[in-house]
């Protein structure tokens, strides 16, 4: 009854065995190797992009724990969907589009909980060497201000000003038109500036 198994087993020569080092390979090469079943290549892609994914999700969701969960989901989905990855798009852009969707879904699921944007505690620790009281105040202030933004605006603002995507890339990853994105970024910036000023004199 059981179908033959041997036909489905995949033989992969890992990159390392072929004399490659992941650091020297482009994302596209790693993605191709990962698609062929090379787990090491996928691990290299994780190592390359995890920081950014966790940063974005942390700022977007306001919870480092939720961000780590969402980032894991993102990589898992990417891994399952590798066969459908179109190399016309950069791997980073493709990954961001998955990440953005996971973040949106996560926000929908937790709507009842008050969204609170927290900063990555470890990043704060690392940066604390040069930090001063005013830096700490600024951290608190931007945290509060971000959490008060509409999620659409927060998303557009983070992609533009923190992740430094172009409007074309933003449109690809969000599925939103460029002019609408520009409007969101502008409104987000205006609101954040206002909130930051209010906070300063509160």
């Amino acid at each position: 009854m059981a179908p033959s198994v041997s036909s489905s087993s995949v033989s992969v020569t890992p990159l390392r065995a072929r004399g490659y080092h992941a650091e020297q390979m482009s994302d596209a090469m790693l993605a191709r190797a990962a698609r062929a079943g090379d787990a090491e290549a996928f691990a290299a892609l994780i190592d390359r992009h995890a920081r950014v994914c966790i940063r974005y999700a942390t700022r977007m969701l306001g919870s480092h724990q939720d961000a780590e969960d969402v980032a894991q989901e993102t990589f898992l989905r990417a891994h399952r969907a590798l066969a459908r990855y179109d190399e016309a798009m950069s791997f980073r852009t493709w990954l961001m589009s998955i990440l953005i969707n996971r973040c949106r879904t996560s926000l929908l699921h937790r709507r009842r909980r008050a969204a609170r944007v927290v900063l990555d505690e470890r990043a704060v620790d690392e940066a604390s060497v040069e930090s001063s009281a005013s830096d700490a105040a600024l951290r608190d202030a931007i945290e509060r201000a971000l959490s008060r933004l509409d999620p659409d605006q927060r998303e557009a603002f983070l992609l533009k000003h923190v992740e430094s995507l172009s409007y074309e890339e933003m449109s690809t990853v969000t599925g939103v038109g460029i002019s609408a994105l520009k409007m969101r970024v502008r409104r987000a910036c205006e609101r954040l500036q206002l909130l930051l000023e209010e906070d300063r004199y509160a």
Partner: protein, 187 residues
């Protein structure tokens, strides 16, 4: 002409400073990475299973579990020397299942603090497949799903490689490291 930075210069100094704060990032911790790699390994297997069998069942509950059981009673002293009392509990059996075969690894190591499984199936990554201490507090267990094939593997007991004494075969070609070999045949 539009500023290529899309108006960053229009931002107030305070918002620009805040953006720098938001750009701080830190590397994910090792447990996050290990957990993700473990889940990626699992999802790999799932894809193959879905391709060969339309209705996968929860493998952890299946009674016809294939068992490749190695029992190592490890009396570990000071983390350096290990006296191994070895006994075989059961013959390795292969489940009459298609595709991926559930395999249970067991190790009796009451004094061990950490046990993991390394092998060809996980790139010998010492953190990817930790064994869990069972209820009796003496036995460490892990169930993994493997495709038919020949695998060199070993346990890592508190950082030291420990051969599985109940393994079907010993590795003859692995440069003298204490590896075992598991041969899984497809049904």
């Amino acid at each position: 002409m539009r500023d290529p930075r899309d108006g960053n210069r229009e931002l107030s100094p305070r918002l620009r400073a805040a953006i720098q704060v938001l750009k701080e990032s830190s590397a994910p911790d090792a447990t996050w990475r290990a957990e993700l790699l473990r889940r990626v390994d699992g999802s790999n297997v799932d894809v193959i299973q879905i391709a060969t069998r339309p209705a996968p069942r929860r493998w952890s509950l299946r009674p016809s579990m294939a068992i490749a059981a190695g029992l190592v009673c490890a009396l570990l002293g000071a983390g350096t020397s290990a006296a191994l009392l070895l006994s075989r509990r059961s013959e390795p059996r292969v489940a009459a299942e298609s595709g991926v075969l559930p395999v249970r690894f067991q190790l009796v190591a009451p004094d061990a603090g950490q046990v993991s499984l390394v092998g060809d199936f996980n790139r010998w990554d010492p953190v990817a497949l930790p064994l869990r201490r069972s209820a009796d507090g003496r036995t460490w267990e892990l169930e993994v799903r493997l495709r038919p094939g020949r695998y060199s593997y070993s346990f890592v007991v508190d950082g030291r490689l420990a051969r599985d004494p109940a393994a079907p075969q010993e590795a003859g070609d692995d440069y003298g490291s204490p590896n075992s070999v598991l041969l899984l045949r497809g049904s």
